[in-house]
C-alpha cells in the first residue's frame, strides 16, 4: 500500500466521525460495563474483582427465569411477526404495482411517525378494562361485565409483534421482489402446487430476507423496555426491567452491568444459532437488510 499522503488524510477524515461514534458511544461503554460487571462490593465504596454478579444470576431463580422467559417470548414474537408479515410482504412485492405499492409501504411506516411510547399508550387505551374493546363488547351485549385485556402475556406479544412488523416486512419485500416471475411460473408449469412452489421456490429464495427480518425483530424485541412494562405491567417480567431495576432502583450498577452483558451474550447466541439452523451467513443476510 503506497497511498499518497493526501489521499490517506482524506480517508482518515472521512472515517473519523464513524470511528469516533463507534469508539466513544458503543465500544467504550461496553468495555466499561464489562469491567463494571466483574466488580463486587465487599464494603461501602470498596470493590474487588470477582464473578459474584454472574453467580447471583444463576443462584436467584427469578433472574434466570425472567431471562429464559424473555428469550422464549422473543422467539415466539419473531415467529408470529414472520408469519403475519410474509403474506403482506408477498402482496407488496409481487401483486401491488406502482402507486399502490408505495402506498402500502407508507401505510406500514405510518405508525412509526409517533413514538413507541405513544403507540403503546394507544394500545393501552384499546385494551384496558375501561377501554374501547371492553366497552364495545359490553355495549353489544357480548359480555356482561368489563374485561381487562391488559397486563398479560397476550397483550405483551400483541404490542411487540405490532412494533416489529415493519422491520420484518421491508427486508422480506426486498427479498421477494428480486424473485423472477418466470421462476415462479416455471414452478407451476412443471407441475408444482401452490404449496410446493411456496415451500421449494419462494421461501428458499426469500431466506436471506427472512433471516435478516428475524434478526432485527428479535433484537428489537429482546431489548424492548416500554412495551413489556406498559402492556405487561407487573406480569411483564422482561429482562430489561431487571437491568433497569438494578441500575435505577437498587443502585447496584455492577449487578446491572452483569445482566447487560448476559443479555448481549444471549441475543448473540440465539442469532448465531438461527443463522446456523437456516444455513445463512451473516454477510448475505446483512446485504438483504
Amino acid at each position: 500500500m503506497s497511498a499518497k499522503p493526501d489521499t490517506r488524510l482524506t480517508l482518515f477524515l472521512l472515517l473519523a466521525p464513524a470511528v469516533l461514534w463507534l469508539g466513544l458511544l458503543i465500544v467504550l461503554p461496553h468495555v466499561e460495563i464489562l469491567i463494571l460487571s466483574f466488580s463486587e462490593r465487599v464494603a461501602p465504596r470498596v470493590y474487588v474483582f470477582g464473578f459474584g454478579n454472574y453467580l447471583e444470576f444463576f443462584t436467584e431463580p427469578l433472574y434466570w427465569r425472567t431471562f429464559a422467559r424473555t428469550a422464549i417470548m422473543s422467539i415466539l414474537v419473531t415467529v408470529l411477526t414472520l408469519v403475519l408479515a410474509f403474506p403482506i410482504a408477498l402482496y407488496i412485492a409481487r401483486v401491488a404495482q406502482g402507486r399502490l405499492r408505495a402506498m402500502l409501504l407508507l401505510l406500514c411506516l405510518l405508525p412509526f411517525w409517533v413514538s413507541e411510547l405513544v403507540r403503546t399508550l394507544g394500545w393501552m387505551m384499546l385494551l384496558r378494562e375501561t377501554g374501547v374493546i371492553s366497552y364495545v363488547l359490553q355495549a353489544t351485549g357480548l359480555t356482561g361485565q368489563r374485561i381487562e385485556f391488559l397486563y398479560n402475556d397476550g397483550a405483551v406479544i400483541l404490542g411487540l409483534v405490532y412494533g416489529g412488523l415493519l422491520f420484518m416486512i421491508v427486508p422480506l419485500a426486498n427479498a421477494l421482489e428480486s424473485l423472477e416471475p418466470a421462476v415462479v411460473e416455471a414452478g407451476f408449469d412443471l407441475g408444482g402446487s401452490r404449496w410446493t412452489v411456496l415451500r421449494r421456490i419462494v421461501v428458499p429464495h426469500a431466506m436471506p430476507g427472512i433471516v435478516a427480518g428475524s434478526i432485527i425483530v428479535f433484537m428489537l424485541t429482546v431489548g424492548n423496555f416500554a412495551t413489556p412494562v406498559l402492556l405487561g405491567g407487573k406480569n411483564g417480567l422482561w429482562f430489561t426491567e431487571q437491568i433497569y431495576a438494578q441500575f435505577i432502583t437498587r443502585f447496584n450498577w455492577p449487578q446491572g452491568a452483569a445482566f447487560g452483558m448476559l443479555l448481549l451474550l444471549l441475543s448473540s447466541a440465539i442469532v448465531w444459532a438461527g443463522l446456523r439452523l437456516t444455513g445463512q451467513s451473516l454477510g448475505t443476510t446483512l446485504k438483504q437488510a
Binding site: 423472477e180 418466470a182 421462476v183 411460473e185 416455471a186 414452478g187 407451476f188 408449469d189 412443471l190 407441475g191 408444482g192 402446487s193 410446493t196 421449494r200 421456490i201 428458499p204 429464495h205
Partner: protein, 365 residues
C-alpha cells in the same frame, strides 16, 4: 385410434381491454412436429404461448391438447411444459434437483426422481452435472438443463419461448442444431416462438408467421420463403427488395409494375389477380438477382438494369452489394457470389443486373 394432432387451437381470441393481442387464431400441430410461431415483438406470440401453457385464459375460443379441452385447466395440470426465455432455472436448487423437481411434484419418490433426472442429464450430454449449482453452468449447459427439466416429464408438448435470445451468436448457431437434434431424438412435439427468422427457418417443420395478433401464413420454411402469401411474409421472412408502384399491365398471369420513376418491372402474379392502375408491391430476393459486367450476359432475362455499386456488404458467403440504380429510390440489394468473377468488385464500379419474371412476387398494396 391414431392420434391425428397433439395441439389444436380453435378461433382463439385474447383481448386486453379493447386491444386484441391474439385475434382469431386457429392451427393444429401434429405429433412429433417442430412448429414455430414467427413474428415481430408485440405481435401476440408470447400471449399465445402463455395461453397454451395455462398462464393466461383466452377471451374466447378453445385450446385442445390431444383432443382434450384445456380451458379451465391450471398450468400445473397441463401436459405441457415450457422453456422460458430467461430459462427460469431454480437458482436455489442444484442441476439434479432442477430436473427432478417436476417428478417429485408428481409424487415420484426422491430416489427414483433422482435416478431418472440423472438419466435425462446423461441423454442431454450433462452426465455428472447433477450436483453442480446452476450458476456454475455455461449458457449452453443451462439451456440443456431447462430442456431436460421439461423432457423428463415426457410432456405431450414442449413450448419454447425464444430460449436462444440471450446466447451469443456462435452458441446460438450451435444450439439451433442441437435443439433440432434433441427434438428428433426424443420425438416430442415442440412449439417454438421466435422473432428470429433464421432460427425458425433452420429448425422448423412448419412455421406460422404472426403479425398484429393474427396468422399471416402457415407453411413449411420453403413455402414461406419461396411462396409468401402476403406482403408481410414476403418482407419478414428472409432478405428482400421491396418496390411500390402501379400495375401497368396484367394478362395471362404476366404482370408489369410501373415504379414512380417510370421504370417497369416484369413479374408474374401468384394466384392473386391484379387490376391495372392499382397500387402494387413487388418483391425480389437478393439471391435471385444475376450480376454481370456486360449486359449481353443477361440477355435472357426480362428485367435488366444498370447501376453503380454504392456499398459492398462483405459477410463471407452471405455477402451482398447495394447498387444505386436509375429508376429506383433505394439501392437494389443483390447477393454477391464470392466464387465468381465479381468477388473483387469495388464501390463506384458500374454493374449490370437482371432477374426473371418468376422471381418477382407482386401483391396488391
Amino acid at each position: 385410434m391414431a392420434q391425428s394432432t397433439d395441439l389444436d387451437l380453435v378461433s382463439v381470441v385474447k383481448r386486453f381491454g379493447a386491444h386484441a393481442a391474439v385475434n382469431d387464431v386457429s392451427f393444429s400441430v401434429a405429433p412429433g412436429e417442430f412448429f414455430s410461431i414467427l413474428g415481430p415483438s408485440g405481435c401476440g406470440k408470447t400471449t399465445l404461448m402463455r395461453m397454451i401453457a395455462g398462464f393466461e385464459n383466452p377471451t374466447s375460443g378453445d385450446i385442445r391438447i390431444r383432443d382434450k379441452s384445456m380451458i379451465g385447466v391450471p398450468a400445473n395440470k397441463r401436459p405441457v411444459n415450457m422453456v422460458f426465455q430467461s430459462l427460469a432455472l431454480f437458482p436455489m436448487m442444484s442441476v439434479g434437483e432442477n430436473v427432478a423437481y417436476g417428478l417429485t411434484c408428481r409424487g415420484v419418490s426422491r430416489a427414483e426422481a433422482e435416478e431418472r433426472a440423472n438419466r435425462m442429464l446423461e441423454r442431454v450430454g450433462l452426465k455428472g452435472f447433477g450436483e453442480r449449482h446452476v450458476t456454475a453452468l455455461s449458457g449452453g449447459q443451462r439451456q440443456r438443463v431447462a430442456i431436460a427439466r421439461c423432457l423428463v416429464l415426457e410432456p405431450t408438448l414442449v413450448l419454447l419461448d425464444e430460449p436462444l435470445g440471450a446466447l451469443d451468436l456462435k452458441l446460438r448457431e450451435h444450439m439451433k442444431i442441437e435443439l433440432k437434434q434433441l427434438q428428433a431424438t426424443f420425438n416430442t412435439t415442440f412449439a417454438y416462438i421466435t422473432h428470429d427468422q433464421s432460427e425458425a427457418l433452420v429448425m422448423s417443420d412448419r412455421i406460422a408467421v404472426m403479425n398484429q395478433g393474427g396468422f399471416e401464413q402457415v407453411g413449411s420454411p420453403r413455402e414461406l420463403y419461396h411462396h409468401p402469401a402476403t406482403p408481410f411474409v414476403a418482407s419478414f421472412v428472409g432478405e428482400t427488395n421491396r418496390w411500390q408502384g402501379d400495375v401497368a399491365a396484367a394478362s395471362n398471369g404476366a404482370i408489369s409494375v410501373r415504379l414512380p420513376s417510370g421504370a417497369v418491372i416484369q413479374g408474374r402474379d401468384h394466384g392473386q389477380s391484379q387490376v391495372v392502375g392499382k397500387t402494387a408491391l413487388a418483391f425480389v430476393r437478393p439471391e435471385a438477382i444475376a450480376l454481370a459486367q456486360e449486359t449481353s450476359a443477361l440477355s435472357g432475362l426480362p428485367n435488366r438494369f444498370e447501376g453503380r455499386v454504392s456499398a459492398v456488404l462483405f459477410d463471407g458467403a452471405n455477402s451482398s452489394l447495394l447498387i444505386d440504380t436509375v429508376g429506383f429510390d433505394e439501392p437494389v440489394r443483390a447477393v454477391l457470389p464470392q466464387a465468381g468473377q465479381l468477388a473483387g468488385i469495388q464501390v463506384g464500379e458500374a454493374i449490370h443486373m437482371g432477374w426473371s419474371a418468376d422471381a418477382v412476387k407482386v401483391f396488391s398494396a
